[in-house]
Subunit: 249 residues, 6 copies
């Protein structure tokens, strides 16, 4: 991959000509996906979006990759019925991701990381099915092979639970998420947050998950600190950077 | 409508509790929709997105309405095959808009303006069909009636063509759009821009519209100025503000 | 294009062998699309269908093109809830048009005009999307290129408003439509018609458009005459004839 | 059912007010469905459409029922690959029928006969599934019950094979169809027609049915006469009239 | 076709390597489809499934073809509302059959018999449409041609009505079905069964077919015997064997 | 729950009357879902199906619940391209599960366990989305609440890895699966099996997963024994039994 001369980080801040140049030199693209979902009384609805976009921008700053305009809506399960949640359908998330990946590869951007700030299993499945459709299309001779990764930044963040002495069940709106938002957008911390380790039904599919999850929190946000958030984010950035480098090869 | 105490402009920067309060007092929501589409050599791909989002935020500042997280992708026709364009399907735009509107109304946000920075006719049709589905659902007794408007900020901007002595055919990436971007994000102006008034087939549906439209510009961007852009934006903000006030009533 | 020996105007009045001959010599096909929609107390529900089909047949008589069996149903917005309206879905209109265009081109009829008597914007969008799908399919070597036009006969008829001193807002069931039906099927004029210039919401999407539009008329049908209708129809026929000639080339 | 005062036979030749009156007095509606399909060298592509529409109009003349604007396209299997055939998809036929039946019942026309001139089994299945969806919708209290019949006029025509000494395998474009077209539209008889009793695979689904069916005829059209056609048509009209009477009750 | 060395009858009892060998030598595959539908007081809900699977296994024993894992659910019309019936949608049956046929042919199994124990017309249409899609796909050079048959074992069983002196209207849960179940799974005969020859509406599509069909039986199960069942099954096996042999050629 | 008098374990071996009785007394239903997927050289393609069905039948024997006719096809990712695999689409699995669950609840069977022998994440997501749709439907007053669980028997089986000294990465076609098949259908063990711990890409979505997974095995089947298989199966049966008891309550 040649070195890009552009300043822009966001793909859609390029002009059409600049986009062509970026595609021609094999620039990696990160496509951030978020959600609008309750995250307790203390975190904003955009918690998932802002983490994925922050990481994507930081990695782009380090690696000269580009960040595609994000999808800010996702599929929410446990938080579906809470005020403020905007959960869009499985088929809808799949369709957006399929169309965006199809257009990116038409443009010649064929090394792509779909980075989701939201880690719900049906949400991730929708993104993976879209990526599968893109990589299964036959490659024309002489073109770069399409390579797509799909992951949540939480795949990395959770690796630090032990090191940071967080509860092994820490999850949604817990110590990790709260720490990370503290480090990224401290102005959006609304309250102190209270610990809550709800017990969701293991196998039952329920229409009212909020009954088992009234706080909307799974973890102990009181253990969150700005410093820990910075450490987590740096670790995630480092890991993503490796993936970008792998795709550049 | 009572007065909101919150500082946030973006709906998803609220917490779940704040979102509930905002819905309860009947807050109007603007849902900005953009596109990733070539806009000549001189404007960025996000030209449509940034105009709609800028207007939405300014109107929210004036009216205390909220701005929903945007949809940054749209349906592009004339610019479809240019490098950098990311055009998503008609059914995809419809599905996102339908799901977002459905969730906003579930939350009690039932006064909504869908504000598109992109004014392509199939794009606008997809948004209108989604709004139709939302308003046709029966209202429960005692609830506020759902009211949704769908428009492009260009519906207003074009009203100033005469006043600003712009060509009556000024359009995509022309004097108006260039002026507006100059006023909003001057750092994203890439080049001077060249006048071009392409003659597209009036009725024929073509697979390669770029053949008739090689510059990707329809208008004379050399007539654009920062001052004119500011005037246009202020006019659009003023008109949108009236619509928000109408919905509050 | 060689000269056709057949007498038939309607494509489906040909036998299979005659259809093959017509396709082989490059015959242009007009596919008329109508609607079943209220047109005030004075005009029949089939007003849109009969105009498009009349024009198509007249143009076929002049140019030796063929008229495909019509689609008699369309997407109605403003008139949706009136008695007698039969509005079919967006996806349904798209599907019929897509399938018919696909089969026409399979048959070798690759120069096609989709002529809609109904000019609603979602209706026209559905037809255009179907045409786009047809022209985007790759052409086999040695075959004629597929060329498809989509228009409403009202795109031409409205050009005569000034000349005929009709109100500039004359529209649905107004002076133009009434004049044209007078000239085509005077037996279907049910009543005198009354002027009405309803004020529809500019941007709001409403479930009950008939509330703003109780007469179902937008214009002044009292200004309609048989002579004016004949003049309009002749003008439309003349313009369509030029389009057929353009496609023959 | 009260007596209708109108003259029109075709539902869409009514005005909106006339349609309301017709629905209010419980008028039965026949919805004719045809096809565009090869019918040998001697019959036109519209053979199925013209029979169904002729019968519908005659029955309407006798019973004062209405004829809805027809669907002129159907699903063709054996004749799919012949020149001139325009076969639309299963889902497309279903969608049109579903939407038309839904709109007819919204209008209060709740006694309906779907009369198909084409008798292919997947075509009829699509129509029946659409009717099922319509009758399964719950009825509001006090409204007439929705009753829908789906049939091909060939369900009756074939009952006369013995009486007319036609071959028991007489079918597509054979003696019956040819006789009927002779009686309805003699100007569309293109040639004498030749007998052909092709042997189609009993169970195999083939991509090229025309290989087994090169003449596009299944029967002996040389036995057709105008007189026999008239007899068949009268019999079908008589049977349909009974069905309309049954629905009126 | 070379001789298979394997013992298994069921395709999915093979290992991946054994499946490859079976495909390589051109093994015919029978894909049995059943239903879960009421069959009177005397027969089990799985009556259709067990007949098709029994026949498939017997034919496989004689011909060394394979039996694909069955689809046990179908589309039920007349019996839809009875307790115990599990009727799945038209699109669902189509989708399963389409996907299974697509995967069988990807594996190189390109001679296939879809054998349905249920003979409802929309059920069979769904299976036929799926087969059509499979056979229409273009074949790569050098590969065996895909050949697919779709039938119900009742297409053969009904041929014996005269010989066995059964009523010509014998059908659902009648003498034939009862005899066959007696011969296959006598332990599942629940009761004696009572004769019933219901008169279903000839053309009307009804939401409550059980009203015309309260016994859920169409025929005279009291005439059923184990011996007759055996005779029918043997005849069906013999006919299917011929079809397998035809596909092997 | 009253005690059932019937002998049958399989729901579709009941008659319509017996099914009604079983639903009336609140019988729990297990719906087994399998797959047709390569499982190395040593295990059959039906490995997933047979485990789920075996467990379901054993649990039914102990608890007097019923087993619905299985879905024998699933969504295969890693094994998709291997010979013998029959992978059906995501939407297809969803549609079957949605329809079956909808019909079971229509019948009054409203306590259901969807037990999948295949544990792929998109496969499980499809089943969970179907269950979500079923539980979200509003309950009529006086009816039992619909309760549905979705799980793989591997959710339990994997809990024994430590106890049985199996590798913590043991998975597809490894020691657990091989042991279980040894205990259930020893005749289907084809070969000894060889250990293989393939390293799949952690995040990359690849079109050819078999490249990373040539053996089709993930684990060490040489550690499998009949005794261990029996122990695992008994444990799984015990756990499932508890779930059935929980749903009965």
């Amino acid at each position: 991959m040649k070195t890009a001369k552009r300043n822009a980080i966001w793909l859609d801040e390029l002009s059409t000509c600049e986009a062509k140049e970026a595609a021609d030199i094999g620039t990696v693209v990160i496509f951030p996906v978020g959600s609008v979902e309750e995250h307790g009384r203390h975190l904003p609805l955009c918690t998932d979006s802002l983490q994925a976009e922050y990481i994507a921008v930081e990695v782009a700053n380090k690696t000269r990759c580009l960040v595609a305009p994000p999808l800010r809506h996702g599929i929410c399960n446990a938080g579906h019925n809470f005020p403020g949640t905007i959960s869009i359908g499985f088929d809808t998330v799949f369709a957006v991701a399929r169309d965006v990946l199809s257009e990116l590869t038409r443009n010649g951007f064929c090394r792509i990381i779909v980075l989701s700030g939201h880690a719900g299993s049906s949400h991730i499945t929708a993104l993976k099915l879209a990526a599968q459709e893109a990589v299964k299309r036959k490659q024309d001779a002489g073109k770069r092979k399409t390579r797509i990764m799909v992951l949540s930044d939480y795949d990395f963040a959770y690796e630090l639970k032990d090191k940071l002495s967080f509860d092994k069940n820490d999850g949604h709106a817990g110590a990790i998420e709260t720490s990370r938002v503290m480090a990224i957008r401290p102005d959006l911390i609304k309250a102190k947050g209270e610990a809550s380790f709800p017990s969701m039904p293991r196998f039952e599919i329920v229409a009212d998950p909020e009954r088992y999850f009234p706080s909307g929190v799974n973890g102990d946000p009181t253990q969150a600190t700005h410093t820990k958030g910075k450490e987590i984010n740096e670790y995630v950035i480092e890991q993503l950077t490796k993936l970008v480098d792998e795709l550049k090869g």
